[in-house]
């Protein structure tokens, strides 16, 4: 399985290498669709590649490495939800999504329900809502596709410090559920919501591992090039040791991601949710640590807008707040240990 993932990551890497860092969606998206990246987790009987969550994470690793926009993960979540649904035309919908004809977006944090008739609430951190036709809403007892043109839907672009991801807020105020495509209700919706949170958290972990790895390599390169006191900065032990610690952290986060993905393939739902949270928690913490240190290791040049160092820092800062929040991850990881001893 690992060989296949490496292959997938490498092929994505080759596509992205030809573009500038933080490639525009307009440039990347047609290629992503053409290469079938949105079908990576879908089963073969629905026209998918059936490479599982690990396959999606291999792609997301490469996307994170090149600071690609955030459109991929929501589309992947939408594909996952469509596949899990019983809609009669799910295969056609999936095909349109995968071909780039009908983009569906989804918030990268939990849905915030509000009181009111119909479907009401707020979705924060929604990528690329300006080119989406529908929003995937993952409420506790309902998973549905909401047309963004429906009455009661307000879409607002929210500029974030992280300029590599284009985020929106979507507010639903009493949207008529008859206007929506309901994918799951009740217990089925709960199970699907849990599954989607797993995909989201693993995806964010992969993005963080890719970004941290690329940024550390860039920082080491810079230290090799920059000379002070008549020698490359990379020769100073005080700096080498910091890079070595960061490298160990990145390798640990990557090993945990791959190991947890492997274990998740054979685990029950509750265990899988924990594996995703563990991977996400460590990866995002490591990304932030690498980003904070890298800015310092770059010195003054890292404070300039023309150098890409800040793009990684801003992405890591935002990443810390996407998916299951760090505090909730840590609590969830501790809970079973404490319950078993209580």
């Amino acid at each position: 399985m690992l060989d296949l993932l490496t292959e997938l990551e490498d092929s994505a890497d080759q596509v992205l290498r030809g573009m500038a860092l933080a490639p525009a969606d307009a440039k990347l998206w047609p290629q992503a669709c053409e290469l079938g990246w949105l079908l990576v987790t879908a089963p073969e009987e629905l026209g998918g590649l059936d490479l599982g969550l690990a396959g999606a994470c291999a792609l997301q690793l490469a996307l994170g490495r090149y600071l690609a926009g955030a459109s991929y993960l929501p589309a992947l979540l939408a594909a996952e939800a469509l596949c899990a649904s019983t809609l009669p035309d799910r295969q056609e919908r999936l095909a349109r999504l995968a071909a780039g004809e009908d983009y569906i977006t989804c918030p990268l944090v939990d849905w915030r329900p509000a009181a009111g008739h119909g479907l009401s609430g707020m979705a924060m951190a929604v990528p690329a809502a300006d080119r989406a036709g529908q929003l995937l809403v993952v409420a506790p007892d309902l998973v549905a596709l909401v047309p963004l043109a429906a009455a009661g839907v307000t879409v607002t672009r929210r500029a974030t410090w992280d300029s590599t991801r284009d985020l929106f807020e979507v507010v639903l105020d009493g949207v008529d559920t008859n206007m929506c495509s309901v994918l799951a209700r009740g217990a089925q919706a709960q199970a699907l919501a849990q599954r989607l949170a797993v995909v989201r958290d693993f995806g964010l972990a992969a993005d963080a591992v890719g970004g941290a790895d690329a940024l550390l390599a860039m920082t080491v390169d810079y230290l090799q090039t920059r000379r002070q006191f008549g020698r490359p900065l990379a020769m100073f032990q005080a700096l080498k040791h910091r890079c070595a610690d960061l490298k160990a952290d990145v390798e640990a986060a990557r090993a945990l991601l791959l190991d947890n993905l492997q274990r998740a393939a054979a685990a029950d739902d509750a265990a899988t949710a924990l594996l995703a949270k563990g991977a996400r928690h460590l990866a995002c913490a490591v990304y932030l640590q690498v980003a904070e240190e890298s800015l310092q290791l770059h010195g003054g040049i890292g404070m300039t807008a023309e150098h890409p160092c800040h793009l990684f820092l801003k992405r890591a800062m935002l990443g810390e707040h996407l998916g299951t929040a760090p505090g909730a991850c840590a609590e969830a990881l501790a809970a079973p240990l404490l319950a078993a001893q209580g």
Binding site: P232, A244, D245, E251, A252, N260, H281, A334, L337, Q341
Partner: protein, 400 residues
């Protein structure tokens, strides 16, 4: 990997065996006890494990107890840790350092002679560090002078774990002073009962005396007990150190994972199971412990498939040492003032005893011994990240 092992069967087998054989109450028996009781427990436990074939799962194919896949090794380590069985500390150097060195660099005659002896309970120690050669190991000065069929050894070694009980010593000594420091070293298998060997245990901060100084006064070692060629000792020593940095850590990481419930139990006992700050530290730590396990597993797979890259072993050891420090620090913080009451110490303690100040102090074993964290960082930065070495010619007041 060959045919999929029947993991459930092996696990049930090991678990059943352990249920009948783990010495009951061994932790209590090892707390505030003398040396003799410790040695006897270790010997009995080794004999039992070795007879069952569970002492050497990390040995290669064709060796007694060896040839196990990573999955099988992990099952054995997991079950041994789950059963809270003692670690084979007295036999650690024999089973890992000596065996791996013999595997990589020993002659067929040496393998045939020493491997059965190791399985039979021969105790080994390592004679590498000296008072003036710690991190800078290549500067060591204990001399090995060739005289006919023997080398004559003079000098001193230190930090040698369990040397006071050892039958044999993995000795790195200087046979030549003329070239660069690394070039003049020779690797010998020294008989600790030979005339001229004196061992002095070192009293440690924990109360234990796990390691010792060794003095050599005209000690003779037959040339047949040399590993590799004369002057090739540095390369042989790297095989010894790599086994310590990489292979031992699968077991240690599994033990650390099995130690997490101890921390949770301590939080309940200290009445802080609802402290969200401590809960979050526990949760974050559990992810790091899982990551350490994953790193150790992947390293072992690389060893098995011969795809190890420079610096890989250092990543595993550095991350384990750092995680173990955090693990024991959290225990210390949770145990609070009550944890500071001196309840004695456990002889040959594993890393996770639940006596948190003791465990915390013992965690320095892994950040100092076998190449300190600082040395691992140098190796990692230079060999994995390709960062340049510092210039060697340091002159007082002169600068590079």
């Amino acid at each position: 990997m060959s045919a999929a092992p029947d993991t459930a069967t092996l696990r049930a087998e090991v678990r059943d065996w352990l249920a009948h054989h783990v010495p009951r109450g061994w932790r209590e028996a090892m707390t505030n006890t003398g040396q003799d009781a410790f040695v006897e427990l270790q010997k009995n436990w080794f004999t039992a494990l070795s007879a069952a074939g569970y002492a050497t799962p990390h040995w290669p194919e064709g060796w007694p107890g060896g040839g196990r896949s990573l999955t099988e090794q992990k099952i054995i380590y997991e079950e041994v840790a789950r059963a809270d069985a003692p670690r084979l500390i007295l036999y650690f150097v024999a089973l890992y350092h000596a065996a791996c060195t013999l595997q990589e660099c020993g002659s067929p005659e040496q393998q045939a002679r020493f491997l059965p002896a190791i399985l039979d309970g021969q105790i080994w120690c390592q004679g590498f560090s000296e008072p003036n050669a710690g991190s800078d190991l290549a500067s060591l000065r204990t001399s090995a002078k060739r005289r006919g069929d023997v080398y004559v050894i003079n000098g001193q070694k230190t930090w040698s774990t369990m040397a006071q009980y050892a039958d044999r010593c993995l000795l790195l000594a200087r046979s030549d002073n003329s070239g660069v420091p690394q070039a003049g070293l020779t690797y010998l298998l020294l008989d600790m009962r030979a005339q001229g060997v004196t061992v002095r245990p070192i009293h440690q901060i924990t109360g234990d005396d796990e390691f010792a100084e060794i003095f050599f006064d005209d000690v003779e070692v037959p040339v047949t007990d040399r590993v590799g060629e004369e002057g090739a000792g540095w390369a042989v020593a790297q095989a010894t150190l790599a086994s310590e940095r990489g292979l031992t850590l699968v077991e240690l990481c599994q033990r650390m994972r099995r130690g997490l419930p101890l921390l949770a139990a301590q939080m309940h006992a200290s009445g802080c199971a609802h402290d969200s700050g401590l809960r979050r530290r526990l949760g974050a730590l559990s992810a790091q412990v899982d990551a350490a396990c994953a790193l150790a597993d992947r390293y072992l797979l690389k060893r098995i498939s011969h795809t190890e890259a420079p610096g890989d072993a250092s990543v595993v050891k550095l991350y384990y040492a750092r995680t173990l420090r955090e693990f024991t620090r959290l225990g210390r913080d949770v145990a609070g003032l009550g944890g500071q009451y001196h309840g004695g110490f456990m002889r040959g303690a594993p890393q996770e005893t639940g006596n948190w100040p003791l465990d915390f102090m013992n965690s320095y074993n892994w950040s100092i011994a076998g190449g300190s964290n600082e040395i691992q960082r140098n190796i990692l930065a230079e060999r994995m990240l390709g960062m340049p070495r510092e210039p060697k010619d340091w002159r007082l007041g002169g600068g590079g």
